[in-house]
């Protein structure tokens, strides 16, 4: 096989030449094996020409195969997509449940904190603590709230303010 391969791959020589050479080699080999008795042997090359055997094109079959391939591919993809979605949904379901539980825990914690805040900021408690710290209630008028309206009981100095429209005309 190696020799054939080598022969086949030899470049620059025709096929008949190579056949002749091969026949000669075989004749010589036979003579050696038969101890000098030479029997002529001939090799008749027979050529098979299959070049005219061509596969006839079948577009229907080809289309069917293509359609089948596409369908199988789509089905496979859909199956895989379904599986992916299914397992992804399960996984996300677990995550959602987990997140829900965390949310509920945080809400409950928030409620507990609100309760604690309400208990800590109850007026009676603050009043008691303030008194223990030596604070006293503000006297009437002592507490001034900047956001409140002007105090009707307090004299206010009269001020002349130019009208806005006149100021804008300058």
């Amino acid at each position: 096989m190696a020799a054939c391969a080598t022969t086949y791959l030899e470049a620059g020589r025709s096929l008949n030449t190579r056949i002749d050479e091969r026949n000669a080699e075989l004749m010589a080999l036979q003579a050696q094996r038969r101890r000098g008795v030479r029997t002529p042997e001939f090799a008749f090359p027979k050529h098979f020409d299959n070049s005219r055997l061509v596969k006839a094109p079948d577009p229907v079959r080809a289309r069917q195969i293509r359609q089948f391939s596409v369908a199988v591919t789509i089905l496979f993809s859909l199956t895989m997509l379904y599986g992916l979605q299914h397992f992804s949904a399960i996984e996300r379901g677990y995550r959602i449940e987990s997140e829900k539980q965390i949310r509920e825990q945080l809400r409950e914690e928030n409620r507990q904190l609100r309760l604690s805040e309400a208990q800590l900021t109850q007026p009676a408690r603050i009043d008691k603590m303030a008194r223990e710290m030596g604070f006293a209630e503000p006297q009437p008028g002592q507490m001034v709230q900047p956001n409140s309206g002007s105090d009707a009981g307090v004299p206010v100095m009269a001020q002349a303010t130019p009208p806005t429209a006149v100021r804008n005309s300058y």
Binding site: E108, R111, Q112, R114, L115, A118, Q119, T121, Q122, P123, A124, D127, E137, P138, P140, G141, M143, Q145, N147, S148, G149, S150, D151, A152, G153, V154
Partner: protein, 749 residues
């Protein structure tokens, strides 16, 4: 030879064999067909005809339904500060079958969970008995605090305890403890509202329970479950301001400490909306520890109790007279030396007051009874009655609190000949503190009656979707436009303004000097009324109700305050001395808290009324017809709280009772009526248990033995003092009283 025979034999046998086989075949087919039909019929019977029944049986065997409790809604004050809220806490339960030594387990748990000495359910004996009684489940302690739960968890972790588990349960907390306790109410162990707003709005607050459907196998193992989420209760926003509530309660505490009164009530109202800003009642209770309270403490005196207002009611008389143009503030009126006779009945002014002709405004300042009676006579009973009704008396105000009474007010056709005079000075009529403050608000806001509310509007329309929003109090508001349902004009704007000036005169120059504020003008009216003695059903000489109803500031009123102190002891009992200072303290602090601009000059220090201006007393001697009050009680509807003993209207001793048990019901026995009469206030002492009344027999002159026999035969009780024959009796002979009423007789020789 044989061959010709065989065919003939074959011809004879073959036709017989084939039908026989076919018959057998068809017989077998018929058999199987019948068998199949029977099976089909049976299946049809089971699967189609009795389908529903077997499905239900299967569900009963295979499914279990667990109820999931909803979270109760939050009660907020108007600034969205939590007044009542529900959080999850641990409850401890045991699986007794997993516990080896139940007695030892109970002994180990009791010292930890038995934190409340009054809780009898967490003693070692009780825990042990529950562990012995149950096989798969037994409560150890419910709703324990985090510290207790932590200690038990440590025991479980250390391996000392087995079969002990935790279950989360909801618990209602009132973070401010006693603040507005009677308004908020409380809930029982089963999370049902049993008082106050918790009871009134139980459907909204409670929410809808969820359900968990669990499939189980024959060994009761859970195979799978589906659930319906519980719908949490609706959050409600009250009109109460937590800080104002605290200020009112603190001022009331001061008054209670000084007067040692039976109870006290302070109501603060926004005059422009009718919203209740604070409602303080003393004595009170801690709703977090509702099991330690008593029925008397649960009573909301602001809406459930009535009292004769006395001179405070003169505001109605004077308003009606001014609005009817029967008098003007500066018109003179003859007080006739402080004495007037009406239908044979003499009505006196206060002792030592003998006024002659004085202006109308001065008559109000000195609280002249004679002037009030004459003004009432001037406008006539029909118009006077209509004004009383327009001010909201004799009808429920609609404030969203359970157990509200409409008060005692008889129609004109049931008035006696002197009733107009009595009602003009606040007798023969019973009002609630919330009616009183609403009347004053009507005068303050320009003459429009606005129904009082403790719940922000638009929250109970059924949708439950409205988010809770803070609605802080705003000063200088106008009347709502359009007016809310139930609102109506009572007085003209001019009349209301004149009344405000006259009320200011009461504070500046009259009986209400104790109500003067520093930096703010104020107006109001004092009142002192005698209570009805629970034993005798007569006006007591020693028990009084001191009241004050006022507004501030006068020119642009922001708040109205009513103060009612029931039976002050150990000093003065007059409204001028007892209730007016409470008004001053509350109004001063509330106005400062609201940053209301001062409308008068500030003084360095507020003069004390005790040391400076002498307090003019305003008590009127009770000459009214007490039987009229009894008759008015009997006219009340069946669901009115005055018709039921207070101990039955608030089942504090039965915390797990259902709301229906918490509702009022008529008294049945005389013993109950007697017990209640000794515990409750004057308003409840005029309660007649049911529609049946007895006429008190005359016992004068009878020996003790006869007295006992006659009272027993009449269905009455008797209390005898002295010996000999009866000299005096109370109630008087002929009075109509409830069965079982105690008749007090004084005997002498």
């Amino acid at each position: 030879m044989a061959s010709p025979v065989r065919p003939s034999r074959n011809r004879t046998t073959a036709p017989r064999a084939t039908p026989l086989k076919l018959a057998r075949f068809w017989l077998i087919c018929l058999f199987f067909l019948a068998w199949a039909i029977m099976i089909g019929c049976r299946l049809f019977w089971l699967q189609v005809v009795r389908h529903k029944e077997y499905v239900e049986r299967a569900q009963k065997q295979q499914q279990r339904t667990f109820e999931v409790a909803p979270r109760r809604g939050v009660l907020y004050d108007r600034n969205l500060r939590e007044l009542a809220m529900t959080v999850q806490v641990d409850s401890i339960f045991a699986v007794p079958s997993e516990i080896d030594d139940k007695q030892a387990a109970a002994r180990a748990l009791a010292p930890i969970v038995h934190t409340d000495p009054e809780d009898t359910q967490t003693t070692a004996e009780q825990i042990a008995s529950r562990l012995d009684a149950g096989h798969s489940f037994a409560w150890v302690a419910r709703r324990v605090n985090p510290e207790t739960a932590g200690k038990v968890k440590e025991l479980i972790a250390s391996g000392v305890l087995k079969g002990i588990y935790f279950q989360k349960e909801f618990q209602r907390f009132y973070p401010d403890n006693e603040i507005a306790a009677q308004v908020l109410g409380y809930v029982g162990l089963d999370d049902a509202g049993l008082g106050g707003l918790e009871l009134k709005f139980e459907p909204q607050l409670h929410g809808v329970s969820g359900r968990m459907f669990t499939a189980m196998d024959a060994r009761r193992h859970v195979l799978g479950s589906s659930e319906r989420e519980p719908a949490p209760g609706q959050n409600l926003v009250l009109t109460i301001d937590e800080n104002m509530q605290f200020l009112a309660e603190r001022a009331l505490d001061h008054a209670m400490d000084q007067t040692h009164a039976d109870n006290g009530t302070v109501v603060v109202q926004d005059v422009h909306t009718g919203q209740i800003l604070a409602l303080a009642i003393r004595p009170t209770f801690n709703p977090n520890l509702f099991r330690r309270t008593t029925p008397a403490l649960l009573r909301n005196h602001a809406v459930s109790d009535v009292y004769e207002p006395g001179s405070v009611f003169k505001l109605v008389t004077y308003s009606a007279a001014l609005d009817q143009h029967a008098a003007m503030p500066d018109d003179p009126i003859d007080c006739q030396g402080g004495k007037i006779t009406l239908a044979g009945r003499v009505i006196h002014d206060n002792q030592g007051e003998h006024y002659g002709v004085i202006p109308i405004h001065q008559a109000l300042e000195v609280s002249s009874d004679v002037a009030a009676v004459k003004l009432a006579l001037k406008i006539g009973p029909d118009r006077f009655y209509q004004y009383i009704r327009d001010f909201g008396f004799g009808a429920r105000t609609g404030a969203e609190m359970p157990g509200e009474t409409r008060g005692l007010l008889r129609p004109v056709n049931r008035w006696g000949s002197s009733s107009i005079g009595s009602i003009a000075i606040g007798q023969e009529v019973g009002v609630t503190p919330i009616q009183l403050v609403t009347m004053v608000s009507t005068i303050a806001n320009g003459g429009v009656y606005l129904p009082p509310h403790v719940l922000m509007p638009g929250q109970t329309d059924g949708s439950g979707k409205t988010p809770a929003t803070a609605q802080p109090f705003k000063i200088g508001g106008d009347l709502p436009n359009p007016l809310p349902p139930g609102a109506h004009r009572v007085l003209s704007t001019l009349t209301a303004a004149e009344m405000r000036k006259m009320m200011e005169g009461v504070v500046l120059f009259g009986t209400g000097k104790g109500a003067q504020l520093n930096g703010y003008s104020s107006g109001g009216k004092t009142g002192t009324a005698q209570k009805v003695d629970p034993a005798t059903h007569l006006y007591s000489k020693t028990m009084h109700i001191a009241s004050f109803a006022g507004i501030a500031p006068v020119n642009n009123p922001v708040i109205a305050v009513a103060v009612v102190i029931d039976n002050p002891r150990g000093g003065s009992y007059y409204g001028a001395a007892v209730s007016a200072p409470v008004f001053a303290e509350v109004a001063q602090q509330v106005l400062e808290y609201l940053a209301v601009p001062h409308d008068i000059d500030l003084r360095p220090a507020r003069p004390s009324t005790k040391q400076g201006n002498p307090v003019v007393e305003d008590a009127s001697e009770h000459t009214g017809d007490i039987d009229a009050l009894y008759a008015a009680v009997n006219d009340l509807p069946a669901d009115d709280p005055l018709r039921a003993p207070p101990s039955q209207s608030a089942p504090a001793a039965q915390p797990a009772a259902s709301p229906s048990q918490a509702s009022t019901k008529p008294a049945n026995t005389a013993a109950e009526a007697k017990t209640d009469a000794t515990q409750t206030s004057a308003a409840t002492t005029v309660t007649i248990a049911d529609g049946k009344t007895l006429r008190v027999p005359s016992l004068i002159g009878l020996p003790v033995r006869k007295v006992i026999e006659q009272t027993a035969a009449a269905g009455l009780e008797v209390q005898i003092t002295g010996s000999g024959t009866v000299r005096e009796q109370a109630p008087a002979a002929g009075a109509m009283v409830a069965p079982g009423t105690k008749i007090v007789v004084r005997c002498g020789r």
